[in-house]
């Protein structure tokens, strides 16, 4: 209860602010409509008029939730409007990008920790890669992958997603693989342990907390990457495409529900990583904190 209360308070505050903002932003339309009809709207009229517009500037929470319910639970998954369908499209690219990014990040980190040449050559490029804005290169990746004859968007979306998610994994794993102290390495040296044994018995297990911390960041970054990959014109599937379609065609409800679906998906993914982390920690003799 003591842990739930602060969360509840914050949630409540956000909902209240949201409603106030919705009334404020959507009232212009109500006042406008009333003026055309030659009436002066009362405060109650404005309040009522802002809660359920077709094209609200900012839909209030209950309207988003109702729409979300309709588009996920009530719609058939095969429908082109079903957010479950679009969510699965985005999820697929997210998971592919996440796996590719994680493998790439871990592999590069292993190389960097074991080879001074790689340490000096790879790390600067990895950092530079993250200073390039992803929205600038996403369209290029899509165009290039089409040019080399790759059908559809799954491959370029995976690449963009992996591009964003490998970096946090790389940085964390370099730190994690280097986390054993000198005495721990010296101990293995007195056993005349090989590099491989040192890696498997010491560096890898020692890096696990760092690994899981980076997984949470990476999975969220993968989702962002997948969505960014769905934004450039031409995409018709995925949550990113829905967001863009919503804003381009002046359908704010489509945009907002897609946005919320993406947020919920991100939360589920982070929770899933957290569960795997807790299981791994238990298997490694640690108490979950």
């Amino acid at each position: 209860m003591r842990r739930v209360l602060p969360v509840l308070v914050v949630t409540l505050a956000i909902v209240v602010i949201w409603y106030v903002a919705a009334v404020w932003l959507n009232s212009a339309w109500v006042i406008d409509q009333a003026a055309r009809a030659g009436r002066e709207p009362s405060f109650m009229d404005i309040l009522r008029g802002t809660m359920n517009q077709d094209r609200p500037l900012l839909p209030p929470p209950h309207q988003v939730l109702a729409e979300l319910w309709e588009l996920t639970v009530e719609k058939r998954i095969t429908s082109k409007r079903s957010l479950v369908y679009h969510g699965l499209v985005t999820l697929q690219a997210t998971m592919l990008g996440f796996v590719v990014g994680a493998i790439l990040g871990v592999a590069l980190a292993i190389g960097i920790v074991h080879s001074r040449t790689m340490d000096l050559s790879v790390m600067p490029w990895a950092i530079i890669s993250q200073t390039v804005p992803i929205v600038a290169i996403a369209p290029m990746i899509i165009v290039l992958s089409n040019a080399v004859g790759i059908e559809g968007r799954t491959v370029p979306k995976t690449i963009i997603s992996a591009y964003l998610s490998y970096f946090p994994v790389l940085v964390s794993m370099v730190k994690g693989l280097r986390s054993p102290e000198r005495e721990q390495l010296d101990l293995l040296k007195t056993y005349n342990a090989s590099r491989w044994q040192t890696f498997v018995k010491l560096r890898l297990p020692a890096s696990m907390p760092y690994f899981f911390a980076s997984m949470k960041v990476a999975v969220a970054a993968s989702l962002v990457g997948a969505i960014v990959g769905e934004l450039p014109t031409g995409a018709i599937e995925g949550l990113g495409a829905r967001m863009l379609i919503g804003s381009q065609f002046g359908e704010p409800m489509i945009m907002w529900t897609a946005l919320f679906a993406a947020a919920i998906l991100a939360a589920l993914l982070v929770v899933a990583v957290g569960i795997v982390q807790a299981l791994a920690a238990r298997a490694m003799g640690q108490v979950a904190r």
Partner: protein, 263 residues
């Protein structure tokens, strides 16, 4: 000089200079020492006199910048490759993700002992340090003294004939320490290992050792080597006998002389 006369560790005029950002630090200067098979040698001296450094040189974890040292007649690094050392660091350094048995098993896995023999050795060595029944516990479930015993068990699990211990009991209270000292002594008598032991405690050094090496800092060097006249059989109350107090006195004098040089 010692039981069977064969020198296990033979150091001649060892120098070791660390190049640091603030200039060179002479950690060892002209250190010569001979340690015979089966001896229990304690190193005592003020902080920074090079005790740890000397132990690390013996174990080939540090390269001397001058002088010569042989271990079992070969270089320390060759001895390391032949797995001659069991090293107990100041911090227990157990892997938190392994059980106590798993930790003790670590060197056996690395050295490729067959699975059945591993189990047998772990069982035996945990019994030796009185940790039977704790094999399945994780390090955080054990007290500091028990963790330290587990790390000693880990160093005993394989057949290294040289045991190097760097202040293994430094962080423990007096009573636990006494108990572990007794255990260590009986373990040494049973196994016949050659032991190098770093300590800051005069009674501990005198109680345990056949030979006490007194060192002094800046530059780190040996100021006195005392052959203990005490018998191999040592009950704890030997510490109240005149012989014991006499040795302790000489160690204290040696330490004081080192300090006078310092001022």
């Amino acid at each position: 000089m010692d039981a069977d006369g064969a020198a296990v560790i033979e150091a001649r005029d060892l120098d070791l200079v660390f190049e640091t950002a603030d200039g060179p630090v002479q950690a060892l200067k002209g250190v010569s020492l001979s340690i015979g098979r089966g001896e229990f040698v304690s190193f005592i001296g003020p902080s920074g006199c090079g005790k740890t450094t000397f132990l690390r040189v013996i174990a080939a974890l540090e390269e001397p910048t001058g002088g010569t040292i042989t271990v079992n007649g070969v270089s320390p690094d060759e001895a390391r490759r032949a797995r001659a050392y069991g090293y107990v660091f100041q911090a227990a350094g157990l892997y938190p993700w392994r059980t106590i048995a798993g930790n003790v098993k670590l060197p056996l896995e690395i050295m490729g002992y067959p699975a059945a023999e591993r189990e047998e050795r772990v069982r035996k060595v945990l019994e030796l340090v009185e940790l039977s029944g704790f094999g399945n516990k994780y390090p955080w479930q054990l007290s500091g003294g028990m963790q330290q015993r587990a790390s000693i068990a880990r160093a005993l699990a394989f057949d290294a004939d040289i045991l190097l211990m760097d202040e293994p009991f430094g962080a423990l209270d007096e009573i636990v320490r006494d108990h572990l000292n007794e255990q260590l002594l009986s373990l040494w008598r049973r196994t016949g290992k050659t032991i190098g032991f770093v300590t800051h405690s005069i009674p501990e050094a005198v109680y345990l050792s056949t030979k006490i090496v007194v060192m002094s800092p800046r530059p780190g060097r040996i100021t006195d080597v005392i052959e203990s006249p005490l018998p191999a059989e040592r009950p704890l109350d030997i510490r109240d006998t005149p012989e014991f107090l006499e040795v302790a006195h000489r160690v204290r004098e040696g330490l004081r002389a080192g300090h006078a040089y310092d001022e």
